[in-house]
């Protein structure tokens, strides 16, 4: 099997996948403290982006203004889907435009935060789900061709990471 076949296989597989991004880290703070940073407008603005109209109330709609791209005005439209104080927060995250590819492509996704107490610390898990590949993931598409090169460069990346 040659490179072209590998690429086809990766792309075929990609068409069937809805991707999600998961970031999962332990923070040396109580869940209540972390909850405050996730659900207070001023604090959200200090680490994520400044929200307009955010309230931790199910059904509440709010927006983030970010960098426009092509036909997209850069506004991320969100709606609070689930609120369980100090445990779980979910909101929809819709942005982009059909005409864009890569950054600014049409997104209809959900962001879910889960807090779990681990001793005196808290595990914070972010799941950003609903990326439809390859439409929403230009990386996936272009990486089909760049696969071997990417794999080669991992050696140096991994060297830096620990």
């Amino acid at each position: 099997m040659n490179d072209a076949n590998l690429k086809t296989r990766v792309e075929t597989d990609a068409q069937q996948i809805t991707q999600q991004i998961v970031v999962d880290e332990v923070f040396p703070h109580a869940p209540q403290t972390i909850w405050r940073t996730l659900t207070t407008g001023d604090l959200i603005g200090r680490w994520l982006m400044e929200p307009t109209g955010f309230e931790p109330v199910e059904g509440k709609r709010f927006t983030f203004q970010t960098k426009p791209a092509g036909a997209w005005d850069g506004v991320i439209h969100c709606q609070v889907l689930e609120v369980i104080a100090n445990e779980r927060l979910a909101y929809s995250w819709k942005s982009g435009d059909e005409k864009n590819v890569g950054y600014g492509s049409r997104l209809d996704t959900v962001v879910t935060w889960t807090l779990t107490k681990v001793g005196s610390a808290t595990r914070l898990r972010l799941v950003h789900s609903g990326f439809v590949t390859p439409k929403n993931d230009s990386a996936f598409d272009s990486m089909g061709g760049a696969w071997p090169k990417v794999v080669q460069s991992i050696g140096s990346l991994a060297g830096e990471s620990h």
Binding site: L6, D13, V26, F27, T33, F131, A139, A158
Partner: protein, 112 residues
């Protein structure tokens, strides 16, 4: 300060592929449909037991899967194995990791 370190799938994938020989083994599996230890050893300049060890690491990292048929074990690439890496490299993967870093500093500031 990191209170606890957990081994994320990304670390496992990167660590497994950080070894040049193991990476070469992975690439050879990726370029074949399915292959055996014997085929991988042939002309590799590495012993069969070394190849087997690399295969074990790749399997533990979720990068390859195997199936036994008769006396042979066939290895192929697990297509979703590189997903943690794709996430990490994609726009939102980078976006959220940066945000986690900012959140960590903010928390340190408001709750020292």
């Amino acid at each position: 300060m990191k209170a606890m370190l957990q081994v994320a799938p990304l670390d496992v994938v990167m660590r497994s592929l950080a070894d040049p020989t193991r990476r070469a083994v992975f690439e050879r599996i990726a370029l074949s449909d399915e292959t055996t230890v014997a085929e991988l050893t042939e002309g590799s300049g590495v012993t069969q037991s070394a190849i087997s060890q690399h295969l074990r690491s790749l399997k533990e990292a979720g990068l390859v899967v195997d199936r036994a048929q008769g006396r042979n074990v066939y290895y192929r690439v697990e297509q979703k194995g590189l997903a943690p890496l794709v996430d990490w490299m994609s726009h939102y993967g980078v976006f959220w990791r940066k945000r986690f870093t900012k959140l960590r500093s903010l928390l340190k500031e408001i709750d020292p």
